[in-house]
């Protein structure tokens, strides 16, 4: 593809950020760039950075929309800290994103947009392209607008329309720099604008114009980069966001368990896409109630569960608050439901478009009375699929509500996902009661798991009544008997505790013992592993125990903790998992590192922090 001799530098992994106004099509640009990375066999992860407003005023910093992609020939765990390359379509995106560019990184701007008016709207006092403020960066000044127009002059399209394709010019530049193939983008144009061949042609032309421009710019043309295919296992792959992966995990679980899927949900950022995704797939028999509020969402799920569906409800923090009472009902009636909390920054409405890990204690303890729940957390956009599946399996097999925690990063971010075969997923065997079983009693339990049995309305010979009042052991009638109440509270707790017998032992990444154990959970996995591996490569005795199972904790947890001199628990909150660990394992000293900024951890800050806890080198 390269048009002349030039140096090609091989890179292990690269972070690119596209940024523009809401209307500039940055999400599309990013996704076409991702497709090209996929074709090139890279591993990658992406994260969109939407403005908090739907369409904030054009040209302002608050209206900037971004898309970051981290791709590489090594395994990619996060969408990346700082960008190697920033594409800024206007002054405002430059202003907003400069702090996220690596020192001496490359910045590509559309110089045509740096008008006085635009600069002042973006809050610039002087033109950064002209003052010295960008001197430490590799600044590529490209008259993108002008050249876009010129490149398709001959097609006779109107100017406004042409300018909408500026982003394809920028994409062309990036394709040149990273030696990407046009094929996947061309395919997209052809499919998308099927009915309008002129637009297909125009987009193709503009893309190539960008490419050729880059080739002609001295600063770019001398070196391009190659990021070789990653060593991924053989198989079929796709790109998937956390929310879609979550939705699909439930679909798989419904199919494997033979129970029809029911979703009762009320839209809320950043969880709405799960509802939207599931509502697309009615062909799989999924039934949905977009409820009038979160309470109806969960309560309809409890009803559906009673009626024999595998029922779920999806929400974010404020919605989880509202569901508290009804989760207690599911605990008492011992019906399987999964409650997904896609966490966002609180308290209250907080910063709804930002991510955080601050609903953990609510998930564990936010209910009246003794109301234990299984709590698990996904740790990557792709494994949302597997943890949604795991949550479903635990709920149905143990007949109890499960709270699945994900977060805004996982939900909106995307990753490369190796497509599994449903038949290879673990079996799910819901404990259905048999028609006319004379030994059926609503609260008779399996002696091992302690689950009760699922007797579904419509089944002959199993008519029974349940509800939120305390239940008599075995028979399930309302009971105010003191000893029965104690027994039932203990049974419900024990049932959840015994789940520890059915989950995988906690994994440890790195040596089984050492100076420092990093203990993390949920959406921070990617950055933890990057930091820990970096330090391991530097010879530090550091390991990572990243938790997915929170209640109950894996049985070997204590064992693992014992083998390290120090333990640190970094979290995107003021310290919630660490409090929980302290109550469980009083014998250990847990250091903590907390960040509540609506931002992810950076690898470097973790490395710095971890190093402080390690023995001085001599």
């Amino acid at each position: 593809m390269t048009s002349k001799e030039q140096k090609v530098v091989e890179l292990e992994h690269v972070v690119v950020r596209f940024a523009g106004d809401s209307g500039d099509g940055m999400q599309l640009t990013g996704s076409l760039f991702s497709d090209a990375a996929a074709i090139a066999g890279n591993d990658f992860a992406t994260f969109p950075d939407y403005p908090a407003e739907i369409r904030a005023p054009q040209g302002t910093v608050s209206g900037v929309s971004g898309f970051q992609i981290h791709f590489g020939q090594k395994e990619i765990h996060t969408s990346g800290d700082l960008a190697d390359v920033l594409v800024a379509m206007n002054p405002a995106p430059l202003k907003k994103n400069l702090m996220w560019v690596k020192p001496s990184g490359t910045i590509i701007v559309d110089t045509d947009t740096f008008t006085e008016k635009a600069l002042s709207k973006a809050g610039y006092d002087s033109n950064p392209l002209e003052d010295d403020s960008l001197k430490d960066y590799n600044l590529i000044k490209a008259p993108i607008s002008t050249m876009t127009k010129t490149s398709v002059e001959d097609l006779g399209l109107d100017n406004k329309m042409i300018l909408k394709s500026r982003n394809m010019f920028a994409l062309g530049i990036m394709f040149f720099i990273f030696n990407r193939d046009f094929a996947s983008a061309d395919e997209f144009f052809e499919a998308k604008f099927k009915s309008n061949p002129l637009v297909v042609e125009s987009n193709k032309k503009i893309l190539r114009a960008g490419y050729n421009f880059a080739d002609s710019v001295e600063a770019l043309s001398r070196i391009t980069y190659s990021v070789e295919p990653a060593e991924l296992a053989k198989g079929k792959y796709r790109n998937i966001t956390g929310n879609v992966a979550t939705a699909w995990g439930f679909i798989a679980a419904a199919e494997r368990s033979g129970r029809p899927l029911f979703l009762g949900s009320y839209p809320i950022t950043p969880a709405s896409e799960i509802l939207q995704e599931l509502s697309k797939h009615k062909s799989l028999g999924i039934k949905i109630l977009q409820a009038e509020d979160e309470i109806a969402g969960i309560v309809s799920a409890v009803g559906a569960s009673f009626a024999g569906s595998f029922a779920i409800t999806t929400t974010s923090g404020p919605g989880l608050s509202l569901k508290s009472e009804a989760i207690g009902l599911a605990v008492m009636t011992e019906l399987p439901i999964v409650i997904v909390d896609v966490q966002r920054a609180g308290p209250s409405t907080g910063m709804p478009t930002k991510s955080e890990q601050s609903d953990l204690l609510q998930a564990l303890f936010g209910r009246n009375g003794e109301a234990p729940c299984i709590v698990i957390a996904a740790s990557s956009s792709a494994n949302c699929f597997y943890y949604a599946y795991e949550a479903s399996k635990l709920a149905m097999e143990h007949m109890t509500p499960v709270i699945l925690l994900t977060d805004g990063y996982l939900a909106n971010g995307s990753e490369v996902f190796k497509i599994p075969q449903v038949a290879e997923l673990a079996e799910i065997n819901p404990p259905l009661a048999k028609p006319n079983d004379e030994n059926y009693f609503p609260y008779r339990r399996d002696p091992e798991r302690l689950n009760r049995f699922w007797a579904i309305p419509g089944t002959e010979g199993l008519r029974h009544r349940i509800g939120g009042l305390e239940k008599e052991d075995v028979y399930g009638n309302v009971s105010h008997d003191p000893l029965n109440h104690q027994l039932m509270c203990e049974l419900r707790a024990e049932k959840v505790a015994r789940v520890a017998d059915y989950i995988k032992p906690q994994e440890i990444i790195g040596d089984e013992s050492g100076d420092l154990l990093v203990v993390s959970w949920g959406g921070t996995y990617g950055v933890m592993i990057e930091a820990v591996q970096e330090m391991q490569q530097a010879g530090k005795k550091i390991s990572l125990a990243h938790f997915h199972h929170i209640n109950p904790l894996p049985k070997n947890t204590e064992e693992i903790f014992k083998r390290f001199k120090k333990i640190i628990v970094p979290e995107l909150n003021l310290g919630q998992f660490v409090l929980y660990l302290r109550m469980q394992y009083q014998q250990f000293t847990f250091h903590q590192y907390n960040k509540v900024q609506g931002l992810p951890f950076m690898v470097q800050e973790l490395v710095d922090k971890f190093n402080q806890l390690l023995p001085e080198e001599d």
Binding site: A38, K282, K287, E292, I295, S300, S309, L329, P457, R463
Partner: protein, 346 residues
Amino acid sequence: MAIPVSESEVANQIKLTKDDFVSDQMVKWCPGCGDHAILSSFQKILPEAGVKKENVVVVSGIGCSSRFPYYVKTYGFHGIHGRAAALASGIKISNPELMVWMITGDGDSLAIGGNHFIHVLRRNLDINIMLFNNKIYGLTKGQYSPTTPTGHKTKSSPQGTIEHPFNVGELAIGAQGTFFARAVDTNPKMMSAVMLEAAQHKGTSLIEIMQNCVIFNDKIHADFTSRETRDEYQIHLEHGKPMIFGKNNNKGIVFNGNKLEVVTLGENGITEKDLLVHDKTQWEAGMHVLLANMKPPHYPRAVGVIRAIEDFTYEEKLDQMIESEKQHSKIKTTDDLLNSGKTWDI
């Protein structure tokens, strides 16, 4: 709720009796409470409802009234306060074969449960709701409810309430309700008739049962249910029949172009032909609202089925949509889904 059963099943059903629907739990309402009579009427009509006994589900919220499911030998769910409609919705959507009855109170459905109540009506799920309106919170021992008359003194309104009560029928119809009936706990025959009609109606059927709480709100409905008042202050609306009432069957209802009026047959030349003829199927809700809102001393209270219109239900549309998607979509299994769209091999 019209659930088709095969003929042999119908034959089977005929053998069912009230006793098949009496559970083994001791009924714990106060002696004299109106709930007892409602329970008995309900247990009596179930054998006639044309449904297999294991296909009946009785759902409730919390309140004295909401203890109802424990006493009926069917599948039953005693939910949490105010959420019966959401519970019932989940059950009905999951399995439209089930005949779902929802038992609730004026507190359960009009106070804390108000939102689910108006939404289940709007969605027109085929659920049968019996709202026991005793105009008080019974279970919590006597605070006023959203239907308590203005000025009424209760535990929480020692100087009288200062709120305007809801009219159940008006609210329900305003929320797009397709079926509204009213019955009185002291008239088992009419209760049964109305329950059966509700069972037959496709869509959400709401029956407001005027129920007496002997302990905390005794005689709250006496202005039209007592032995002295009931003849003069109750009108039984029957579809297609003129609106006649009164001890001597000589009173009637007319519409004067602006509002309803009570007239006496024979006076001022009024004959039966001048009277309104009840049409429960009229789409425009205006007349039904006026009828539902009538009350003493100026009007009799209407009992019987006031509104019953045909419209699609949520669950039938959903099932149709699923069927059609199943036919048209290429995605038939989870594997199809996982492999759909853009994928690549390595």
